[in-house]
């Protein structure tokens, strides 16, 4: 059996998620091969060998000097046609899923995304994640070449030394595919909005007044985030409606949401529940927000928030 792993990189810089795909592939067959697209990735061969790649197929083409979903997908498709592997794995990242989908479309083959378990065979039985992991699906995959992506973080990457024999894979790509190659890269726009902020400090009725939001503002500013609030706050006229997190306000999805004195009424919760992590600061240990949060501090926000800011200043100046 030949299992080929598509390696994801950005202009030569390896996406470590690909190592998870290499580890997953080794569970199917210890003899695995890697595929890198673009000359910039040639330098990755050693690391791929250290992670189990017996062969590293390298594709060189001008079109592959930067990322382009169609060019990458076409290159992967051609590699499949040339190498006739039994399976191709990639990591289920944004690019990984996109390239595999492009390749699958070109090969007119099925592609199964975000898998966490494989039972190989003529037909594979696969467990994959749905609903962002809330639900699992068991499915079968029948194809001459099995195209699958591995759910990110489902496998822990472990090194395993293999030969890593470099094998150039010549191919010609249609120049028209340049149409979807990255044309430009720009810095992220300055100034974060509530909807896109990586950090939100939220205040509820317990904040008490418009002025009392100042410590929350300061903490948010120090962490590159913004301040949000509950409906009770806008109802009291303490903050503008644009700051309202919730069902009838903005739905946020920051890396961390610090909810200060917010009970966690559903109206607010549905706006905040997409946050990756939640830290609740509340006097009531039974408060809904505390129960639902990942982390909690029990105490008065008027004392806890300035203390956090002071601690940040102490550590970072």
């Amino acid at each position: 059996m030949t299992v080929l792993v598509l390696i994801e990189h950005d202009r030569g810089s390896l996406n470590p998620a690909s190592l998870e795909a290499l580890t997953a592939a080794r569970a199917i067959d210890p003899q695995i091969e890697a595929l890198t697209l673009g000359a910039a990735a040639d330098g990755l061969a050693g690391e791929l060998a250290a992670n189990g790649a017996a062969v590293v197929h390298q594709v060189h083409a001008d079109l592959l000097s930067d990322y382009g979903p169609e060019a990458w997908g076409e290159a992967t498709a051609q590699a499949v046609r040339a190498l006739k592997p039994d399976a191709v794995l990639a990591c289920g990242t944004e690019r990984g899923n996109e390239v595999m989908a492009q390749a699958a479309a070109r090969l007119d083959l099925p592609m199964v995304a975000n898998c966490i378990e494989f039972v190989p065979g003529d037909t594979w039985t696969i467990t994959r994640v749905r609903w962002g992991g809330s639900l699992l699906e068991q499915c079968t995959l029948s194809a001459t070449t099995k195209l699958v992506t591995v759910a990110h973080h489902a496998f822990e990457a472990t090194p395993s030394q293999a030969a890593g024999t470099v094998a150039p894979l010549p191919m010609t790509l249609d120049p028209a595919l340049a149409r979807t190659v990255v044309a430009d890269r720009v810095e992220r726009a300055a100034g974060v909005t509530l909807a896109t902020a990586p950090l939100v400090v939220g205040g509820g009725r317990a904040v008490g007044s418009a002025e009392a939001f100042a410590p929350l503002e300061e903490l948010a500013a120090r962490l590159g985030g913004v301040v949000g609030c509950s409906r009770a706050v806008t109802n009291n006229g303490w903050r503008n409606h644009t700051d309202q997190v919730g069902q009838t306000g903005t739905r946020i999805a920051p890396d961390l949401y610090i909810a200060c004195g917010i009970s966690g009424a559903i109206q607010h919760w549905v706006g905040a529940m997409a946050s990756k992590k939640i830290l609740a600061i509340n006097t009531d240990p039974e408060a809904n927000m505390v129960a639902k949060a990942d982390y909690a501090v029990i105490g008065d926000l008027h004392k806890v928030v300035p203390a956090i800011t002071a601690e940040i200043i102490r550590r970072r100046g």
């Binding site: 806008t234 069902q247 009970s263 009424a265 559903i266 809904n288 639902k292």
Partner: protein
């Protein structure tokens, strides 16, 4: 306390105030909003209610919210699109007057002034209540809960689910023992189910039944709306209730909450409510079914055009609790001792009801007001089935904003209980009214022939409202009974047998009057609450040395059954048998009743039975044969005529009925409806009715039912009763039950009106409400024609200064005042004051 909604929270607060010291409050959800109906309630209070109990509890609750500082007064306008709604507003003005609520009728232009964004062109007018408010039910509940916690008498466990309720066997039925939760088991002497829509499921764990169903109330929050945002306030404009579309619009800061009671009834089962985890919002905030709501949107836009451009930001099928008769379900469950229900309560009445239940648990009965309309023991078994609950809730859901007549009859679940006479009654053209499942003839169209004899009885009522669920033939039946003889179907009575060596002492403890009468005699007696108010009234027949039979009415049978069972001795000295299902009853009354019965009544041979007053005096009970059928005759009357209640086994009933009618033919005997029995005949005699004149706020002295002497034996409420007697001796009771007559019934439009007896306020000639020394308002408890006295009569409690024969007062009906005169102060009958007819 299971359930941390408005009820459970306020209950622990009130219980703490009343001295309870070791309480636990559980909820399976998080705090402060565990996910029940309280969490999504619209939280507004329109205080006007025609029902005294609910009006009292609503106003009291609003006062509790005010005391908590969590009542935001914004005013409210009920608006009318249809003419009959304007009539209803007059009735609301009357109820507002009775309960002391500031309210006024407003024109479309005045509505526009208060609510500039309304389309007044489609409105006929409005009913404006300045005190309408929006309350913070979650915060109020939190305050009450925290108060109990601060006193050190309450532990709170949120996120704790009840898995089971444990009971232990005890005399008289199982007793609650413990609550099993997912975090451990709590032993408890008392457990309260305050779980809103989940209450039936929780009660069932102990084998008890809380008859309610979760039902959908649709609500959408739409906004933003400029004019509302610009107000800068949570509530800058009065709440609008668009009564004829069953819809409301309430400002919520910059947006408008639109709620509806117009959609098809959508009922659920408690077990089908999704878990907290599986709910997108909370378990009681289900996704809006838009198709049901669309017509309301169009009507809302018609009323407030700006709503059309507002965004639908939050829209739910919110769950709330409905019960078969739309009243709450309160009190100790009849099935399990010390397991209490505080369910089917809305935010508007939550704190008041919490206090009421707390008093009930603490003092044995509420002090603040009579709870009979909400008493869980009011339900008969057939009324507690899911079938019945759903049938009745399906019927009344769309009456939430409807115009419901005081005499309105149910359409569903009819024919549940029929007497053996039903087929005869039907053939006689009976119009049946429902009495807790029993079909009772209210009047008989066959008696219309009497209009020729009593043309004065045939007068129709001009106003449709007054004539609804009424027929003038009742007056004709009344007159014919008084002139000759009539037969009343009383099968709806309940008969409870108490037997055994302890029966006499037990009943003497339960009753005010002396039960120790000779065998074959009877006693009429009030039952009192521990604080001396009316808990019941009934007659007891002594059938043997150790055998007593209680006769009580259809509407209080369930409550009386519970009350006797609760206090039944646990030593086995008394057995309690409910014989209601096996016994049917007819009343035969009138000057020719004795002559009629004499033709067919014998002893157990063929020897005619002595029906003379001497041989068979008033109040006596005798076993006889009627046309050969074993029967029990009881010489008594609720209509003021000589005659009997006749009891026999159900299977004998039809033969007895036929025998009576055959015997009475020569006297032109007629069937007589409940319209006579319960209203016209009764009111002419000034007889009191439990639930109308007789309520726990009043005592026997005030009702005029105190006997000259008090028995030496102890009885429930005796201390309070003695105190009430003493107060009356020292001066006067705070109120006296009076019979009043209307001097004129003519309304401003020039025709006569007929009050329905729905709490119409009695006013001074200056139009002031009359409040007695205990703060109770004078209002009509029963109203009806007195065909034999030629007057339209009202019963009402009046303070002593007004309770003087000849005093001129007013009654308000449909927002108009009519002159009335006090005819009788006390229990003396207006018709036949010496009761000569009953004893001749």
């Amino acid at each position: 306390m299971i359930g941390a909604g408005i009820v459970g929270n306020c209950l622990v607060g009130h219980l703490a105030r009343m001295g309870w010291t070791d309480m636990v409050l559980l909820d399976k959800g998080p705090l402060p909003n565990p996910g029940g109906s309280t969490g999504h309630a619209s939280n507004f209070i329109f205080p006007t209610d025609h029902n005294k109990e609910m009006a009292f509890l609503t106003v009291d609750s609003q006062n509790q919210y005010i005391a908590a500082g969590l009542n935001n007064t914004c005013g409210g306008i009920e608006v009318a699109r249809e003419p009959q709604r304007m009539e209803e507003f007059k009735r609301r003005m009357t109820s507002a007057k009775a309960w002391g609520i500031d309210a006024r009728l407003v024109t479309p232009a005045e509505i526009k002034e208060l609510v500039p964004f309304i389309n007044e062109e489609i409105l006929l007018g409005g009913y404006y209540t300045p005190s309408v408010s929006v309350v913070d039910s979650l915060a109020t509940g939190t305050l009450m809960r925290d108060e109990a916690v601060a006193k050190g008498v309450l532990s709170v466990f949120a996120n704790t689910e009840v898995m089971n309720l444990l009971t232990e066997p005890a005399p008289g039925g199982p007793r609650i023992k413990a609550v099993v939760t997912d975090r451990g088991t709590i032993e408890a002497e008392h457990v309260v189910v305050a779980c809103g829509v989940w209450s039936p499921r929780i009660a069932k764990m102990a084998g008890a039944n809380i008859p309610l169903t979760p039902a959908v109330h649709q609500m959408a929050d739409v906004g933003p709306i400029d004019i509302l945002q610009q107000s800068g306030k949570e509530l800058a404009y009065p709440i609008i209730r668009d009564m004829d579309t069953f819809c409301y619009e309430r400002q919520s800061s910059g947006s408008m909450e639109v709620g509806s009671y117009a959609h098809r009834p959508i009922l659920m089962r408690p077990d089908d409510i999704p878990s907290i985890q599986a709910s997108a919002l909370t378990p009681t905030e289900l996704p809006l079914t838009y198709d049901d709501f669309d017509p309301q949107m169009e009507q809302a836009i018609e009323l407030m055009e700006m709503l059309g451009d507002a965004e639908i930001r939050y829209a739910i099928n919110g769950l709330l609790s409905l019960t078969p008769d739309a009243n709450p379900v309160l009190g100790e469950t009849p099935e399990v001792r010390n397991l209490w229900s505080a369910a089917a309560v809305w935010v508007k009445e939550g704190p008041g009801i919490a206090q009421l239940v707390a008093e009930w648990m603490t003092y044995g009965y509420p002090h603040m007001c009579d709870p009979h309309g909400s008493d869980i023991s009011r339900f008969y078994p057939h009324e507690k089935t899911e079938w019945h609950i759903n049938a009745r809730c399906n019927e009344h859901f769309n009456k939430t904003y409807g115009i419901v007549h005081p005499r309105e009859q149910w359409a569903s679940q009819r024919g549940m209980r029929r007497s053996p006479f039903y087929a005869r009654e039907e053939a006689l053209g009976a119009t049946f009214f429902d009495a807790r499942g029993w079909e009772r003839p209210q009047w008989y169209s066959s008696n219309e022939q009497l209009f020729a004899k009593f043309p004065q009885a045939a007068t129709p009522r001009t106003h449709e409202w007054d004539a609804r669920w009424w027929n003038p033939v009742t007056n004709a039946e009344h007159l014919q009974m008084r002139e000759s003889v009539g037969v009343v179907d009383l099968t709806a009575f309940n008969e409870f047998d108490f037997e055994g060596p302890g029966a006499l002492d037990f009943l003497n403890y339960m009753c005010v009057n002396q039960v120790n009468v000779p065998v074959g005699r009877s006693v009429y007696t009030p039952l009192l609450t521990p604080h001396g108010g009316f808990r019941g009234d009934l007659t007891i027949q002594r059938l043997g040395e150790q055998h007593f039979r209680v006769i009580t009415g259809a509407f209080d049978g369930g409550r009386d059954h519970y009350w006797f069972n609760k206090y039944l001795p646990t030593d086995g000295s008394v057995t309690f048998t409910d014989r209601s299902q096996g016994i049917c009853t007819v009343g035969v009354w009138g000057p020719n009743a004795a002559a009629t019965m004499a033709k067919i009544t014998t002893d157990d041979t063929t020897v005619p039975f002595d029906l003379s007053q001497a041989g068979f005096p008033y109040g006596a009970v005798r076993d006889v044969l009627i046309d050969g059928v074993p029967c029990t005759m009881f010489r008594i009357s609720y209509v003021g005529e000589n005659g009997w209640e006749i009891y026999t086994n159900m299977e004998h009933g039809l033969k007895v009925w036929d025998a009576i009618f055959a015997a009475g033919e020569e006297f032109e005997i007629i069937p007589v409806g409940i319209g006579v029995y319960a209203v016209t005949g009764r009111i002419e005699k000034g007889y009191r009715l439990m639930g109308a004149e007789l309520e726990s706020e009043y005592n026997p002295v005030e009702a005029g039912l105190a006997r000259p002497k008090v028995k030496s034996a102890d009885f429930m409420g005796k201390e309070a009763y003695l105190k009430a007697r003493q107060e009356a001796e020292n001066g006067a009771p705070a109120a006296i039950m009076c019979t009043l007559s209307m001097d004129s019934q003519q309304c401003a439009d020039g025709y006569d009106r007929f009050p329905t007896g729905g709490n119409e306020p009695i006013l001074t000639l200056d139009g002031e409400r009359i409040i007695d020394a205990k703060g109770r308002v004078s209002r009509v408890t029963t109203a009806g024609a007195g065909p034999s006295v030629g007057k339209y009569l009202l019963l009402a409690y009046l303070p002593p200064q007004h309770a003087v024969v000849g005093t001129k007062l007013q009654v308000m009906y449909m927002n108009e005042c009519y002159p009335v005169t006090v005819e009788v102060a006390g229990a003396q009958p207006l018709f036949d004051p010496t009761d000569a007819r009953m004893k001749s």
